[in-house]
């Protein structure tokens, strides 16, 4: 990255602010209670969510703790704050893999030396990518009309994920589930590239001279990276689950937690962490799902809502067919045409079409994140007041824990909702264009080619943004 490169002429892309330089933060990250305690707190919350989902059964979900906390609070926090702000910070405190970790390590707090329990098989090489997560997440959205409405469906989904995490932990090594299967993991990894925080090693020389690489193999203070990364040299947030084991195992305290400008990882393309087709498809799928979710959940088209909520089996089949085609073929297909145009406009003969297609697909990370944040605003503003009700009466048993059980449904700022969503979209569009032109310069190397090759992609991004603006502002 150019040393003087500034986003919009203002934000230095090399700017970093180390939070771990504050003694208390550094000490916290070295403690074995962290992130164990937040995980246990979330385990407690998810037990209540599961119980509320089980008890709520087939009720409609607007007054159900499980539905409200998962799909209104957690989802919105994930897309709105956790991922864009703090990368995969949800993975740091996620309770789903706690039982497989406990089984493998036979410890919750301490560090087990030597081989972990379980079969410890290596994840199949052909599946060491995002494809399982891509398909898994897409298939999950087939049932979005149930998961987001029926408490028992949410119970089945979350219970299934926790069970699957445990079973995979019995068979495969370390956090194979988190890395290759978890449906929540893939999009977090993708959008974490835009996040304004990162974990990185500080002094490369220290790591170079440290022969043992304790961050990878572990020592008496902590485990070797459970996500099977090499913390001493990774450059992207995509697969770092922020478990903080590398902070504990580094004898030189050479790992740091930094604030940084957004989107820096999108410009990183190294032989060890190259831009990849599976990640590109993740970007297409997430953009497609966001569009479909808006049409079916926040749009005025009742016929679409009926299809998604499985009013008729035939309607639902039509929905999943069109939805899958749109996400897996439609958007990538249109993007491919614009990639061809980019190559044509640039006049470049050396760079492969595949590379152009993959590189520019990363421009959809800011756009996609913006679309999801806008969608999340559309969830929290009309429905957030339900949360005030359900925290007082989580099982709909007539409890009134905090005196708010009778708090009425109170939508806020819904009159301005479309404008807020539009504003978010425009902001992220600007980031996409600023980072996209840099991607073009990386792709084509020659500046005039980069400028010409950038035009079709800029048109594509503009059209996507206009489409979503039309959807949100009507």
């Amino acid at each position: 990255m150019d040393n003087k490169d500034k986003l919009f002429g203002l934000i230095d892309l090399n700017w970093r602010f180390e939070l771990t330089k504050f003694k208390q933060v550094g000490k916290l990250f070295k403690s074995r209670w962290f992130p164990l305690l937040p995980i246990i707190v979330n385990l407690f919350i998810f037990v209540i969510i599961l119980l509320a989902g089980f008890i709520g059964g087939y009720s409609s979900g607007s007054y159900n703790f499980g539905i409200m906390i998962v799909w209104i609070l957690w989802w919105v926090m994930l897309m709105f704050i956790l991922v864009p702000g703090f990368s995969r910070s949800w993975c740091l405190m996620c309770p789903f893999p706690i039982f497989s970790d406990w089984f493998q390590r036979k410890r919750l707090f301490g560090v087990r030396q030597g081989k972990l329990e379980g079969l410890g098989l290596k994840w199949p090489k052909q599946l060491k990518n995002m494809w399982v997560m891509n398909i898994g997440f897409l298939v999950t959205t087939f049932f979005s009309g149930l998961f987001t409405v029926k408490p028992f469906a949410t119970f089945v989904l979350l219970g299934g994920i926790i069970l699957l995490a445990f079973l995979i932990g019995l068979i495969f090594e370390k956090r194979s589930f988190c890395l290759y299967v978890c449906p929540v993991s893939g999009f977090q990894g993708l959008y974490a590239q835009f996040a304004t925080a990162e974990i990185r090693r500080m002094n490369p020389e220290l790591c170079k001279n440290h022969k043992v690489k304790t961050c990878f193999v572990g020592n008496e203070c902590g485990y070797g990276c459970p996500w099977m990364l090499t913390p001493f040299d990774f450059k992207k947030n995509t697969y770092c689950g922020m478990c903080l084991e590398c902070f504990k195992t580094c004898p030189y305290d050479n790992m740091g937690f930094f604030l940084r400008p957004p989107g820096v990882d999108l410009l990183s393309d190294t032989p060890r962490e190259p831009r990849r087709l599976d990640e590109a498809w993740k970007a297409f799928i997430m953009l497609g799902i966001a569009a479909v979710f808006f049409l079916t959940m926040q749009g005025p088209w009742g016929v679409l809502k009926d299809m998604v909520r499985q009013a008729t089996f035939k309607g639902w089949l039509i929905f999943i067919t069109l939805h899958s085609f749109f996400c897996l073929v439609g958007i990538p297909g249109i993007f491919f045409i614009f990639s061809c145009l980019s190559k044509l406009f640039s006049g470049n003969k050396e760079v492969s079409l595949r590379q152009i297609f993959i590189n520019f697909a990363y421009t959809l990370v800011p756009i996609g994140l913006g679309v999801w944040i806008a969608f999340s605003v559309g969830i929290i503003l009309p429905n957030g007041s339900y949360l005030i009700h359900v925290i007082s009466d989580p099982f709909a048993w007539g409890w009134n824990l905090f005196g708010t059980a009778h708090f009425p449904w109170t939508p806020v700022f819904t009159g301005s909702l479309g404008y807020i969503q539009g504003f978010v979209l425009v902001i992220f569009y600007l980031f996409a264009t600023a980072l996209g032109f840099r991607l073009s310069k990386q792709t084509y190397l020659d500046l005039s080619q980069a400028k010409r090759g950038w035009i079709p992609i800029l048109i594509f991004l503009t059209l996507v943004t206009i489409l979503f603006l039309w959807l949100y502002l009507g």
Binding site: R32, L36, L37, I40, V41, L43, F44, V47, I48, L51, G57, Y58, S59, S60, G61, S62, Y63, N64, I98, W102, R107, L108, F109, G110, V149, D393, F395, A396, W397, G398, W409
Partner: protein
């Protein structure tokens, strides 16, 4: 280290098994304090009230009916003979009705919000015996 391991294990057990046991314990204690029945509100074409007949012993100190609307339309509830009524019960909402069963007999209860074309058939009966 052993002590911390024990504390961590205890916290996990408390946050899982302890939470479930605690929640059911509290609710059982609450339900023992009042005679509680649960009534599920559904439009007639979707199964109607469940149960459609409620039996309550005469002379209880206080009866609590939890009316759970499991549908995506608004319902209502009233027992006119006992002067018991709640307003709207919105989709997914639970309303609690409390009254003292100091009259013997069979009393019809009904939905009071137009919920479907068969709304008028959304009726049941409460027997105080």
């Amino acid at each position: 280290m052993q002590k911390k391991e024990l504390i961590a294990g205890l916290l996990v057990v408390l946050s899982t098994v302890g939470t479930v046991a605690g929640i059911y314990g509290i609710e059982n204690y609450r339900r023992k304090k009042f005679y509680t029945v649960e009534l599920i509100a559904r439009a007639p074409e979707n199964g109607n009230w469940y149960p459609q007949q409620l039996k309550i012993p005469y002379g209880m100190k206080e009866v609590k009916i939890l009316i759970r609307n499991i549908e995506t339309v608004t319902h209502g509830f009233a027992i006119p003979d006992l002067g018991v009524a709640v307003g709207q019960i919105k989709a997914g909402e639970v309303k609690v009705v409390r009254f003292i069963p100091d009259k013997r007999g069979t009393f019809p209860f009904m939905c009071t919000v137009w919920c479907s074309t068969r709304h008028m058939q959304m009726r049941g009966e409460l027997i105080i015996e």
